[in-house]
């Protein structure tokens, strides 16, 4: 039921230190699974439409594709209330620091979905001599799910969000930097 994971064997004299080490590392498996299911089924996206893909993101939130039926329909304008940042659109150089700021403002656990070709690697705007865009969202923030397309169909974004939900249920708390 409860596991205590520790790095090294602590000395019994230093109970205060032991408690400090142990407290954040106490895992309760079934509770964690429950929490993960909760997180996966109530993802609150950040309203972050940058360009064309934003229109398809809005279409996913509308009544035909209805993101709310998987619990992800509550778009939050404030990053501090959002779980997942769906980067929908091309990232310009001027927008880069803004994305970083917003990402930092989001509380953990947080996830990122790169929607559209532009956020994967620059998309249709990538060419030698492109000075204006950042070719890929993963150059600024780590990304969990990539949804290709230009723009991806709403069904594709929906599948991407479901994929993220799957990953969260497996225990993913946030994007991992490539080692």
């Amino acid at each position: 039921m409860s596991e205590i994971a520790t790095e090294n064997t602590p000395s019994l004299d230093n109970t205060e230190q032991l408690l400090e080490q142990v407290r954040p590392l106490v895992h309760l498996d079934s509770l964690e699974n429950l929490l993960n299911v909760g997180r996966a089924n109530s993802l609150w996206p950040l309203t972050f439409g940058l360009a064309c893909c934003a229109m398809e993101m809005m279409a996913v939130g509308a009544s035909r594709f209805d993101l709310d039926r998987i619990g992800a329909g509550v778009f939050r304008p404030s990053a501090r209330q959002a779980d997942v940042m769906i980067l929908a659109g091309t990232i310009s150089r001027k927008m880069g620091p803004v994305i970083k700021t917003l990402w930092d403002q989001m509380p953990s656990p947080k996830w990122a979905i790169a929607m559209g070709g532009c956020t994967i690697d620059g998309g249709p705007f990538k060419y030698p001599g492109q000075y204006a865009i950042i070719e890929g969202a993963d150059k600024i923030i780590p990304v969990d799910v990539y949804v290709p397309g230009c723009p991806p169909r709403p069904e594709a974004l929906f599948a991407g969000i479901l994929k993220l939900a799957e990953k969260i249920k497996e225990g993913r708390k946030g994007p991992e930097l490539a080692s």
Binding site: R93, M95, G96, P97, K100, I134, I140
Partner: protein, 176 residues
């Protein structure tokens, strides 16, 4: 001939040509000096014409001279269409003159000309970059523009250490 032709001649326009609208979408081309532009713009304004846009051309590819040409496009609102292009040659070290006092809409167009081509505009109320970040170096639409900034894929003013470190590692592995 257009109804404004005589006013333009008085305003100091250097030469005027009529163009076939069906071929080009324009009706008149004029050449003017940068200093005369406010008066020329005033003539159009008095005749009720609007400023459709201002754009800039790098002359290196067109005439193989160093310098720029700023094109101002005026048109009547409504029909019939009477489109005039006034072309102003600006040498490499010369400046254009702002017509923002005549047409407030020229403000942003002139800022864009400065931002993209580096042509300074005299008398502009707020000449700073419009599209690129304020700390950007270089003028993108110039023909010889090479974005040599090594942090090309980074955002303005911010260096992300992790990626820089990864690039160093990659360079080391390649033996570069």
């Amino acid at each position: 001939m257009s109804e404004v032709s005589s006013d333009l001649a008085l305003a100091g326009v250097q030469s005027s040509t009529d163009i076939d609208f069906d071929e080009r979408g324009l009706q008149h081309r004029h050449e003017a000096l940068a200093g005369d532009m406010p008066v020329v713009a005033g003539a159009f304004r008095a005749a009720g014409y609007c400023l459709e846009h201002i754009t800039c051309l790098d002359l290196r590819q067109v005439e193989e001279v160093a310098g720029f040409r700023v094109d101002y496009q005026f048109n009547r609102i409504g029909s019939p269409v009477d489109r005039h292009v006034v072309q102003v040659k600006v040498g490499e070290t010369e400046t254009a003159t702002s017509i923002a006092s005549v047409y407030p809409g020229a403000d942003w167009y002139e800022r864009e000309v400065f931002d993209m081509h580096g042509v300074l505009v005299d008398g502009h109320p707020n000449l700073k970059r419009l599209l690129m970040p304020e700390d950007y170096r270089g003028y993108p639409l110039r023909k010889d523009f090479l974005d040599e900034d090594p942090e090309r894929h980074q955002m303005s003013g911010v260096v992300v250490e992790a990626e820089a470190a990864q690039e160093d590692v990659a360079d080391g592995e390649d033996g570069a």
